[in-house]
Every structure is written in C-alpha cells, then in structure tokens.
C-alpha cells in the first residue's frame, strides 16, 4: 500500500497528531491549574508569617510604651526590655532604638545601628495608641531581611513624644520561604509531567478504536469489496459509530456500482460479440471459395451497415459512461415544449405515415431542460413507440406544464403497441434489456440502450421517467422535468 498523497496547496507541515494535540492540551491546562494553586498556597503562608511577626512587633512596642508610662523618667526597665530584645528570641531577633524628639539615641539594642536602614528610609512612626497591623519589609544595609515598625512613645512627663524603631531579623523566615518556594515549584513541574504522561496513556487508549477501524477498512480491497462482517455491526464509541455506519454504506454503494459495472461490461461484450460473429461468419464464408463480383459487393454493403450499427452502439455506450461519470455538463435552457414536439414529429412524420401509424402532438408551455438531450430522449421514446405500434394504431406525444414549479412539466408518449408485461416493467430501463429474448429481428430492433439513455437523461435533469402499461392496450411513458422550485 502506498501512503496517501497529502493535499496540495497546504503548508508542508503535517497537521499534529491527535495524540500530541490532546496531550499538549492536558499538560497546558494542568500546568496552569497547579501553578495557580501553588501561588495561592505560597501567598497564604507568607501572609500568616507576616501577621504573626506584626504581633511580635506590636507586643514589643506596647510593652515599651507601658514600661515608660508606668515609670515616667525611669528608663531602667525599658532599657532591660530593649537590651535583651536581641537575645529574647532564638530565631528571630529584635533590634530596638528609642530616640528623643531631637533624634538623639536614648536606648539601643546592641548591633542595631548596623541593622536599621538610614533615617531617610525608615517608615513614619505610628501615633500613640496605634500598633502596626502589618510590618514593613526592609533590608539592612548589609542585606539582612527585616520587618520594620516605628511608633511614637509618650514620655509620661509631658513634652514631645519619643520615637521607637524596632526591626525584626527575618532571615530564617526568608530562608524557609525560599525552600518552600523551591518545593512548590518542583511539585508543580512534577505533577504537570505526571498529568501529561497520564494524558498520553489515556489518549492512546481512547484512540485505539480509531486504529481498529482503520485496520478494518484496510481489509477491503478492490478484489473483495466486502468485509467478513459489517464494521457498523461492532460496538464502537458513539463518536465513531456514525463513521462506521457511513463506511459500511459507502462500501455497499461501491459494491453495487462495481456489480453494475461488471454486469454492464459483460453485457456490452456480449452485445458486441453478436454483430462481430455475423461479420466474421459471413466474411469467412464469402472467402471460402471464389465468387462473383456482385456477391462481394453485397457482402461489403451488408458489412458496412453492421459496422455503422457497431459505431452507434459505441457512441451510445460512451454517452452512458460519461453521464455516469457526471462528466457531462448539463446546459439547461428555457425550451418551448410545443416547438420541441413539432421538431420530433417533423422527424418521424414520414416514418409514421409509411407505417400507417397516426402521430399526434399536443401541449404547450416552457420548461427548463437541455434542448439537445430533451430532443434525444423524446426521439428515443417516439422511435420506440412507432416501432411497436401496428399499422392503424396511434402514437401521441404531449406536454403538460406543472404550474407548481418554474419550468417543470411532464412529457407523455403514448402508444398502442400492445404494452409491456409487468415482469418486464421493472427492467425495461436497464441497459441492454430486451423484452423479446430472441434477437432475430434485425434492422428495426433497437440497440437495447435507447430507454437506458432516456432514463440517464432524465436523471441528469433531476427528474425521472415512468412507465404505465396496460397490456394489450399499450404503454404510456412519462418524462418528469422538475424545473426550478
């Protein structure tokens, strides 16, 4: 088997496989979802620490305010608080600095000067009675991460309030958060990869029926246009069952067409064999011994007639083949029905008169049809009707416009030719079908393709041909032209 040729005029890139598309989709979605969740987690944890540390700073400030308020002018207890601040917590050390309104340092935890940022970068102090809800995040000049708070402290003796700056060393928290972030990121990547992998497995599994249906279709070859069992009979996922059914239908149509084609070919070969046999037989007989010039002449004349019949048959077969192939372009036009009837009657009037058949025409109107093909269909029907109607009989050709549509109508060809038995009625429009099995009638008999051509012409017009027969009275053929709705 050869690979199917990719459609031309498109980009040279093959479209991505369904599996790749689905897996990329799953992965992208899970990456986004997991990242959002991780981000929210990270934020929540950090906020929690901030609130806790703000409380720590608030406590410190409140305690200092209380100590100074309880002992105005005495800063010993306050000093004790500030001095031990740095030692009081193992992980998070506090550095405090109390200054008077002029900016002079009153108390200071050892090492504070290296921790607090320059005066300009310090946050504005909170007025008395207020405590920080959230700390300011800052860095010491040496790069240590800090939470900062500043507050005014009443001296208790009147006069301007003092300013208290306190910094919490949070480098442990920072380290911890870094580790936490790394863990979250790894989890993100890991679970995205995992969901991609699972997605791939699920997709492969999900698309397995597609592989199976392809495999089933591969079982069909032109040699055997059939499957052991119809594909549609198996259980398929809902999305594929329609495809499977359609595939079966297509196969069925193909098989029918194939069948028709091979029957047709066989019939055609047979039809050709008969006249060829006549030609070969009569010619070889003539050559078997010397004969007079008149004999040769007669044979050649008879042969020429046979050849012409063969040529006509080929032309009819080609017409049908092209119509089947839909290669024939219909050139519909407004046709005057009365004129079409007159033309056909003109052609057959001499023949009908000679045979003693009365040929009549009636009807008027305009219809949408290919003029040449319409004439061909009518000619075939009328020729057929005259051929089968005995002397003294009547053939009538008429048209009735269908006023429900634009350019639609029905042509009727009625003969008194004895009719067609019901058994033949269904097959009469088939190629090479003949009512009388013996093909002894020569000259006046048709090629067996006339009615098939009529049917094909009507199909090309989107209409149809029908037959009503009442043996032994006669037959009525009707050509239905749908017109334009």
């Amino acid at each position: 088997m050869t690979d199917p040729v990719p459609p031309r005029g498109r980009s040279p890139w093959r479209p991505l496989s369904l599996t790749v598309r689905l897996v990329l989709g799953y992965t992208a979605v899970s990456l986004v979802m997991i990242s959002v969740v991780a981000g929210l987690l990270h934020r929540g944890v950090y906020r929690n620490f901030e609130v806790e540390d703000a409380e720590l700073l608030s406590d410190n400030i409140a305690t200092l305010r209380r100590l100074i308020a309880e002992h105005p002018g005495d800063i010993r207890e306050a000093r004790e608080l500030v001095m031990k601040s740095a030692a009081s917590h193992q992980l998070e050390k506090l550095y405090g600095r109390l200054t008077d309104s002029g900016g002079r340092v009153i108390l200071e935890t050892p090492g504070t000067s290296s921790m607090l940022p320059p005066d300009g970068e310090l946050p504005p102090p909170l007025p008395a009675g207020r405590l920080p809800k959230l700390p300011h995040e800052h860095h010491s000049p040496s790069g240590v991460p800090l939470f900062l708070a500043a507050a005014l402290v009443e001296s208790g003796r009147g006069g301007p309030p003092m300013v208290y700056h306190v910094a919490l060393d949070i480098h442990h928290l920072d380290q911890w958060m870094n580790g936490y972030r790394r863990t979250l990121m790894l989890m993100c990547l890991g679970s995205t990869a995992a969901s991609g992998l699972v997605g791939w497995l699920v997709t492969r599994r999900g698309l397995r029926p597609l592989k199976a249906i392809t495999g089933a279709a591969q079982g069909v070859t032109a040699r055997g246009l059939s499957l052991a069992a119809p594909i549609g009979a198996q259980a398929w996922p809902r999305e594929l069952s329609a495809l499977a059914l359609e595939f079966d239908r297509m196969l069925d149509r193909l098989r029918q067409t194939f069948q028709r084609l091979s029957t047709f070919t066989a019939d055609a070969a047979h039809e050709f064999r008969t006249p060829l046999n006549n030609l070969l037989g009569s010619t070889s007989l003539m050559l078997s011994r010397p004969r007079g010039i008149e004999d040769y002449r007669t044979l050649l004349e008879s042969n020429a007639e046979e050849y012409q019949r063969l040529g006509q048959m080929i032309q009819s077969l080609l017409f049908l083949a092209r119509a089947d192939d839909s290669a024939m372009a219909l050139k519909p036009d407004g046709v005057n029905a009365a004129e079409a009837i007159r033309e056909v009657m003109d052609f057959f009037s001499a023949l009908a008169e000679e045979k003693g058949v009365m040929l009549t025409g009636s009807g008027d109107g305009t219809l949408q049809a290919d003029p040449g093909l319409l004439r061909m269909a009518l000619t075939n029907l009328v020729s057929n009707a005259i051929r089968h109607t005995p002397c003294g009989g009547k053939v009538s050709l008429s048209f009735l416009a269908d006023h429900g549509s634009r350019g639609g109508g029905v042509f009727t060809v009625e003969d008194e030719g004895g009719g067609i038995a019901a058994a033949h009625e269904a097959h009469i429009f088939e190629r090479f079908y003949r009512v009388d099995e013996s093909r002894t009638v020569s000259g006046s008999s048709g090629s067996g393709l006339g009615l098939a051509i009529v049917r094909t012409i009507m199909q090309l017009h989107g209409g149809g041909v029908s037959l009503t027969s009442h043996p032994p009275a006669g037959s009525i053929f009707r050509l239905h032209f749908p017109g334009v709705a």
Partner: protein, 226 residues
C-alpha cells in the same frame, strides 16, 4: 492537390492513402508526429490529416509546432476520443475540423472537400443538376420545368444533396443537418424521408438523380448509364 496523412496505425494510413489516390489526390504518409512535421516543413500541402495519438510527437504537438512556424495549412483531426475538452483544445490550437473514429469513407471525403473548398463563401442562388433546378431563395424545386411539391424539410434535404452532389451523405449527417438530431438514432426515419423525396423527384423520369449507396447513405448525381 497534395495531402499529408500522419497516422501511426498502418491500416488506417493505408486505406486513407489509397482512397485519396483513387479520388485524384496526391497523398504522402508519415508514421509519427516528428516525421510528419519534417514533411510539413519541407513540402507544400493543401491539407494535413492528423491523428491525435501519435508516437514521438502527438497531434497537438504537431499542430502547435506548425502554427508556431506560421504554416497555416488546414488540418483535419482524427481522434478516437470525442470529449468536449478534447474538441475545445483542438479548436483552440487551430484545428480546422474534427472527425471522430470510426467514420465512413464518404464522411471523411466530404469533410476533406469542405476544408479544401473553404475560402470565399460562394453560395449559388440556383443549383442545377441535369433537368433539376433548385431556386434556393424561393425554396422552389422544378424538374423538367414542372414544379415539385415539397415540404420545408424535403426541400432542405434535396438542397443539401444537390449542393454536395457526388458526395455520399450518411444518415447521421442528414439527420444532423436537416433535423438537427446530432446523435445516432436506431430509427430508420431518415430512410423513409429519403424514400418519399426520391419518389417526388425521380418518379416519372427515366434518369434517376438520387441513389442509395447501401451501407453508407445517399448520393445525388447524374449518372451516364442508369
């Protein structure tokens, strides 16, 4: 008149050449397109009969090459394929006429003569053949001075035969030209119409003008000993 036949099928080539020679033409033959093209360039022909399917260089190629060189010799195409695109292609390339295989000799000769006659269209007003006289503008026919009563179609049929007297006209051609039925019919309607015309024209006269050529069609001519 010199005619070149380019046809790879030996039998076709031979019978065409033989027939042309019998009808007083000088016929040259070529087996493939390339050889044919050399002959066309080398000699002066009045007409080229060209098969479409040829080895070396196909009929389209020969036609294209000769038209490109400014050789305007009329070309009659012979083809076994008569699809519409094929015809259109041939006419676009400058073919003058088209004949689909199989064809009868009479058909071929008639087309060939038409192509050779082509030029200033000189339509006679009155056609005379022996004692038959056709007045085309008035659609009147007389024989031996007596008016023949004809229908419009019969007059058309008669004038077609008279205009191409000497040519055998096939039933298909007559149906096409007179009744505009350009497809083959099983029916012998044409024969019957011809029979009636012949009775009107020839009955009562010792010299018959319309003749049946069995297997081929009809011809109108004034034969010496009939």
């Amino acid at each position: 008149m010199r005619i070149l036949i380019i046809e790879d099928e030996r039998r076709s080539r031979e019978f065409l050449a033989k027939g042309l020679a019998e009808n007083g033409f000088v016929a040259d033959t070529a087996e493939d397109g390339q050889a044919g093209l050399y002959l066309i360039e080398d000699r002066q022909y009045d007409l080229v009969v060209l098969d479409v399917m040829l080895p070396a260089l196909d009929g389209w190629g020969v036609l294209r090459a000769m038209r490109a060189k400014g050789i305007e010799t009329p070309v009659l195409f012979l083809t076994a394929r008569d699809t519409v695109p094929d015809r259109v292609k041939g006419l676009e390339l400058g073919a003058d006429d088209y004949l689909v295989k199989p064809f009868a000799w009479a058909e071929f000769l008639a087309r060939l003569r038409t192509l050779l006659r082509r030029g200033p269209a000189r339509q006679a007003e009155v056609i005379r053949l022996a004692d038959l006289e056709l007045d085309l503008p008035r659609m009147k026919a007389r024989r031996g001075g007596k008016v023949i009563d004809l229908t419009a179609k019969e007059f058309q049929l008669l004038s077609l035969l008279a205009r191409r007297s000497g040519d055998v006209l096939s039933r298909t051609l007559l149906a096409e030209q007179v009744w505009d039925m350009n497809f083959s019919t099983d029916s012998n309607a044409v024969d019957v119409a011809m029979g009636r015309l012949r009775r009107k024209v020839d009955d009562g006269f010792s010299r018959r003008l319309i003749h049946t050529v069995r297997g081929l069609g009809y011809v109108m001519e004034d034969r010496e000993n009939d």
